[in-house]
């Protein structure tokens, strides 16, 4: 079994959804990101997505844009992303990289897949890579032994869900609503239907992201999805904290609340 398969099997055995946390590398600092992700794992995150900061994050809302901008201003490079993955993977959590396609394209897909695998990363989530353009990445990921996760959205037709699900390994990422990343008052009502539609095309776990930020929302999503993905809410905690220690405590507290949510 791959690391991701083990994670979802374990969660299923405990009759709960897995908790997936996102943080960009280099935010709040290079070491601070590892510390925050470690706190998230200790408080109950099963999977960590490390964001690769990119200059043009067109599907991200203001919170992630802000964090990514700070990270790039801090001088975060792909080598730092790999070192972050290495640090987080040591916690034992399944660690993926979430990235727009151009950084991989430019770095070299084969090199990126190999470096990620060597750092202990288990896969990637590529939100702007469509099935039509994914051929090279699927091959390189397979060769390096890492998983490929892609997104489906409420607007996706049956045909598109089928195409996307077919190229996913690890899990399928279902965007809960039409919009950019960011915590919201309520999780989109379209999410449950999308998960159900996705299940008709795959036996892979289906995780729901976008807009989830509280324990109650996590519990709501956990009722129908295999995993709950939270990003902006963690970043918000770090942005609002007066210092690093307070940020870590706040992130830990949120992870614990969400972990309780997915177990309700």
């Amino acid at each position: 079994m791959t690391t991701l398969q083990t994670v979802f099997a374990k969660a299923r055995a405990e009759n709960r959804a897995a908790l997936v946390g996102y943080l960009p590398a280099g935010f709040p600092t290079k070491d601070g990101a590892v510390a925050a992700a470690t706190a998230m794992v200790e408080a109950g995150c099963d999977v960590i997505e490390i964001g690769l900061p990119y200059s043009d994050p067109l599907m991200d809302g203001p919170t992630i844009q802000d964090a990514v901008h700070r990270s790039l201003t801090n001088g975060t490079r792909i080598g730092d992303v790999m070192r972050t993955v290495e640090g987080v993977a040591k916690t034992g959590a399944a660690t993926l990289v979430m990235t727009y396609w151009n950084p991989i394209d430019r770095y070299g897909p084969a090199r990126f897949a190999r470096d990620l695998a060597n750092a202990g990363g288990v896969g990637t989530i590529t939100p702007d890579l469509t099935p039509e353009e994914s051929g090279v990445w699927l091959q390189e990921s397979k060769d390096a032994g890492i998983d490929t996760v892609f997104l489906v959205a409420p607007s996706s037709t049956e045909d598109r869900i089928g195409k996307v699900a077919k190229i996913c390994t690890g899990f399928v990422y279902a965007a809960s609503l039409m919009g950019v990343t960011g915590a919201r008052e309520s999780v989109g009502s379209a999410a449950e239907g999308l998960v159900a539609r996705t299940r008709r095309h795959t036996s892979l776990p289906v995780c729901v992201g976008l807009g989830v930020g509280t324990g109650a929302q996590a519990a709501e999503v956990a009722a129908y999805a295999d995993g709950v993905i939270v990003g902006s809410a963690f970043i918000r905690r770090l942005l609002d904290a007066p210092d690093e220690a307070a940020g870590l405590a706040s992130v830990r507290e949120l992870a614990a609340e969400l972990a309780a949510g997915v177990r309700r």
Partner: protein, 414 residues
């Protein structure tokens, strides 16, 4: 000129005859360029736009309506103007301008905007959003939205809002909401990011009225086809004026819509050289330029594989140009394809060269061009000296310079 004079726009005018092998393939690729690199959430909307356009482009009713708006609203056909006093500075070569500056709203952008606004109505959508750099596409979009009664939101970099304050006021007067974009470099590329974010959120009732031949498929094809009328007219007109095809066609290239618009009808004419002029800003060595095709590398930006200004890890490098409309670190995929195939040649023009041509055309011919278009004029001056007095050079004067008076006042200390 009477409204009925000249041939009515045909499907072939709009999309060409497809004989040059230059239409994108099923995945929206021009060779290896183009395609779609966007969130899956937008794929259905892109498919919907593509499907509707496929129907529209051969629909008599749509062609008639577009033609009618181009004639009675945009002011087409635009004339050619020969500029001998200006050409005297180009080694005596014959220089002829295609006067897109004389269209309603003052730039070639109106052509694409009217086409897409009609398409928006066919799609049953009630709201349009657009990005704008110099403000010309924003003004054109706000204009078409006012004409057709569509809600309109324009995203514009905060830096551009400042240097093109007059256009911001025009858009507001036309009833549009202008949203200054304060993240990233606060210019066109960031306005595009923000417009995509709006689109993915409001796609059920919104059409993204994309302003240039970049972005994901089908935008490079649609915007080209709606701008194609520039070259279709110019080709007929220059044959009439000079009895032969020009030796060269020159246009400025930012995203590339005015250049594709005038190039496309000439692609099949082997003897006609195509020259695109990018903004060299303060010069290649300064690092402050927008030389995407001449000094960039192949990557993905704003949903399309094309040439991009980027570092070795794929981060976009901020561009620079004195002209907001050319200040963009990407370029349309068809230009990337034309460059790699060798059919078109792309060169850089510095801020200083462009401003010199800007002033020269004003002084010698009484025409104040847009600073964007001045890059093509500066290119034509160089090219004329190279090709000699026997040559005829057609230049796309893509827009007028009214919007640039603030920049000109500062630059020339007027």
């Amino acid at each position: 000129m009477s409204l009925t004079e000249g041939p009515i726009l045909t499907a072939a005018d709009l999309a060409g005859n497809g004989v040059y092998g230059d239409d994108p393939d099923g995945n929206g690729k021009f060779g290896v360029f183009g395609g779609r690199f966007v969130p899956e959430a937008l794929i259905p909307a892109l498919d919907e736009v593509a499907a509707e356009y496929e129907k529209a482009k051969t629909d008599e009713e749509f062609l008639r309506e577009f033609d009618h708006l181009l004639r009675t609203y945009a002011g087409r056909p635009t004339t050619l103007t020969e500029v001998p006093r200006f050409a005297a500075h180009a080694g005596g070569a014959r220089i002829v301008l295609k006067r897109e500056d004389l269209t309603h709203t003052g730039a070639h952008k109106i052509n694409n905007v009217l086409g897409q606004a009609l398409l928006t109505r066919r799609l049953g959508k009630t709201r349009v959003i657009a990005e704008t750099g110099a403000g010309q596409h924003g003004v054109a979009t706000a204009t078409a939205a006012a004409l057709l009664g569509l809600e309109c939101v324009i995203y514009m970099g905060a830096v551009d809002c400042e240097r093109q304050a007059l256009n911001v006021a025009r858009m507001k007067l036309l009833g549009a909401t202008v949203v200054p974009v304060t993240n990233g470099s606060q210019t066109l590329k960031d306005a595009i990011n923000e417009a995509f974010r709006d689109w993915v959120t409001n796609v059920d009732r919104t059409h993204y009225l994309f302003g240039t031949v970049a972005g994901p498929h089908p935008f490079p094809e649609i915007v080209r086809d709606f701008a194609r009328i520039i070259g279709v007219e110019a080709r007929r007109q220059i044959l009439e004026l000079t009895g032969r095809l020009p030796d060269a066609v020159c246009a400025a290239v930012g995203g590339g819509s005015n250049a594709i618009g005038i190039f496309h009808a000439f692609i099949g004419d082997e003897g006609v050289r195509l020259y695109g002029y990018e903004a060299a800003g303060r010069g290649l060595e300064s690092g402050e330029h927008a030389l995407t095709l001449t000094a960039g590398s192949v990557g993905v930006l704003h949903g399309s594989r094309t040439y991009v200004l980027q570092d070795e890890e794929g981060q976009t490098i901020e561009s620079h140009s004195i002209s907001a409309g050319l200040d963009y670190p990407g370029v349309g995929p068809e230009h990337a394809w034309l460059k790699d195939s060798g059919r078109a040649v792309y060169e850089g023009i510095t801020d200083a060269e462009a401003m010199e041509a800007f002033a020269l055309l004003a002084r010698t011919e009484g025409i104040i061009p847009a600073i964007e278009s001045s890059h093509a004029l500066a290119g034509a001056l160089k090219l004329g000296r190279e090709l000699g007095p026997e040559a005829t050079i057609l230049v796309n004067l893509s827009g007028r310079g009214d919007k640039d008076m603030g920049t000109a006042m500062k630059y020339f200390d007027l």
